[in-house]
């Protein structure tokens, strides 16, 4: 009983938040609604017994990704001025509506794979975190490591893309050239 109520409550809230995200003109409202939606999705994960995933969702998504977006938004000023003009909003709406309808129809049909056997079955005896840990570090080790490398690459990529004077490599310059090399602020002073 408790489950049903929670499910519908959170479902309603999530949908509402996300609708605000896609409909509002104010980017700040959108950002806030998105963050709220993330939290509610984490609630779903808890409902589904995937506690580890729920915690990760809050930490990574709501904490890191939203923060990133917030900082990014601070970067772009005067973004209120963007006119959101779509040539045919009705067409878009209709299209998504129809697709939603059809996919729902697909899902309502009897689920195939009722005979599917689980590859990595859930052990109710351990907690969810333990269970995930077991599978992650045995069967999914290689994807785990690769994902780590990918995050490293993304981090470096992010630094290079957004940093200043990223085209010069200081480690390859000699001492003399580093001294001669002026910083941005010094150049700005020179111009003045």
């Amino acid at each position: 009983m408790f489950e049903v109520v929670a499910f519908y409550l959170f479902a309603f809230l999530t949908i509402a938040m996300f609708c605000i995200v896609v409909m509002t003109k104010n980017p700040l409202y959108a950002l806030s609604s998105l963050a709220a939606g993330m939290i509610f999705i984490s609630a779903f994960f808890f409902l589904l017994g995937a506690e580890f995933l729920g915690a990760v969702q809050i930490v990574v998504y709501t904490g890191a990704v939203m923060a990133l977006y917030a900082f990014g938004m601070m970067f772009f000023d005067s973004i209120n001025d963007i006119k959101e003009s779509v040539s045919n909003p009705r067409v878009t709406f209709m299209m998504t509506g129809i697709i939603a309808l059809l996919v729902v129809a697909i899902f309502i049909a009897p689920i195939i794979g009722a005979n599917a056997t689980a590859h990595y079955p859930i052990h109710e005896a351990y907690g969810n975190t333990q269970d995930i840990g077991l599978v992650l570090f045995t069967k999914y080790l290689v994807p785990f490591e690769v994902a780590a490398v990918m995050l490293l690459v993304a981090m470096i990529g992010g630094i290079i893309l957004a940093g200043k004077k990223m085209d010069i490599s200081i480690t390859q310059l000699s001492e003399q050239e580093i001294d001669n090399h002026k910083t941005d602020t010094e150049i700005a002073k020179d111009i003045k």
Partner: protein, 101 residues
């Protein structure tokens, strides 16, 4: 009455469609990113639901990796967006048309 897998899947679909509608409609590049996040999260819900109702941990692993990927994607995406903003001073989608034709 309890909640079945169908309910979760329908929910996932609805949220996915909302995200897709946002992706199609928004002209602000940042809003576009938000819509992408919504879509990814919808898929995650679906994965976790299937995992619970079939007793298989594979779904959760998949959702896990999707979160990792989404995070790195945001990092790079925002970096590129910043560069574009520095060059063009606006983040309107319609200005991003140099590959026309």
């Amino acid at each position: 009455m309890s909640v079945t897998l169908n309910d979760y899947l329908i929910l996932s679909t609805i949220i996915f469609m909302i995200g897709m509608y946002g992706a199609l409609r928004r002209k602000n590049l940042l809003m576009l990113f938000f819509s992408t996040e919504i879509m990814l999260n919808a898929v995650n819900i679906g994965m976790a639901a299937i995992s619970k109702f079939h007793g298989d941990l594979t779904g959760q692993m998949f959702a896990f990796f999707i979160i990792a990927i989404a995070a790195s994607e945001v990092a790079i995406g925002l970096g590129l967006l910043v560069l574009w903003f520095k060059r063009n001073n606006n983040i309107n989608l319609d200005s991003l048309q140099s590959m026309k034709g």
